[in-house]
């Protein structure tokens, strides 16, 4: 398991290659990249700042990956989340999961992302034409995380 919180950008190709290196048991690699958009709730976003809770962030993501391991047959998982100032087109988050087969690998990747959205302590503040504002949590993210509970 790898969890990295960083201000720098990441290279998905390099990260996937590092996870696959020398492991012929891997038959599936699922990945997700989250990217900054230029519009949120109708407001044009020029820039955003991501704040986090150092220590708890890493701990909570590690706990989410542990849960994914308990529920699906996967080999390894990587989460990279950027913090600090970001602008539209920038990558924010990367999740990569490796496994033998696609079913469990896809599911674990989506689960990690859905849980991260509602449980990992990050907060976005957007700079828009209307000024600075903290992004409000979305009910749809709670619903996305909640549906995994039903499948448990």
């Amino acid at each position: 398991m790898t969890v990295r919180i960083q201000t720098e950008d990441f290279d998905i190709g390099r990260e996937v290659a590092a996870m696959r290196a020398g492991n012929p048991q891997i038959g599936a690699v699922a990945s997700f990249v989250g990217v900054v958009r230029d519009v949120n709730d109708g407001n044009r976003v020029g820039e955003m700042t991501l704040e986090h809770y150092p220590g708890m962030t890493e701990k909570s993501i590690a706990a989410i990956i542990d849960q994914a391991h308990a529920r699906w047959r996967i080999f390894d998982a990587l989460v990279i989340h950027r913090v600090g100032r970001l602008k539209p087109l920038d990558q924010i988050v990367l999740v990569v999961v490796t496994g033998a087969h696609r079913g469990d690998t896809f599911a674990a990747c989506e689960f990690i992302m859905d849980y991260l959205k509602t449980r990992a302590p990050f907060w976005k503040k957007e700079q828009t034409q209307q000024g600075e504002q903290w992004v409000e949590a979305r009910a749809s993210d709670d619903i996305a995380a909640e549906r995994w509970r039903l499948k448990g």
Binding site: Y53, P121, W123
Partner: protein, 84 residues
């Protein structure tokens, strides 16, 4: 003493990143601590009000109102998370 951390909108509204306080007798869980902070009035009364969406952690684990607090703990208050 306990350490209390504030993040994001709460940090700005309360004008405080962190503080250390001695736990008064009778304040043994998170809910009671929230009531204690609310009694400071002003922005504290507003941000810690029952109707406000406030999340909390004790020793870096998500906590609820009935989560116990002990001397030496690290408590954090913050708005619902918006990462990813």
């Amino acid at each position: 003493m306990i350490t209390i951390l504030y993040f994001a909108r709460l940090r700005e509204a309360l004008g405080k990143t962190s503080e250390q306080i001695a736990l008064p007798a009778g304040v043994s869980d998170l809910g009671a601590l929230r009531v204690l902070l609310r009694q400071r009035g002003g922005a504290w009364a507003e941000e810690m009000a029952d109707g406000k969406q406030v999340r909390a952690a004790v020793n870096q684990d998500i906590a609820q109102g009935d989560t116990l607090i002990n001397d030496g703990d690290e408590v954090a208050f913050f708005p619902p998370v918006t990462g990813g």
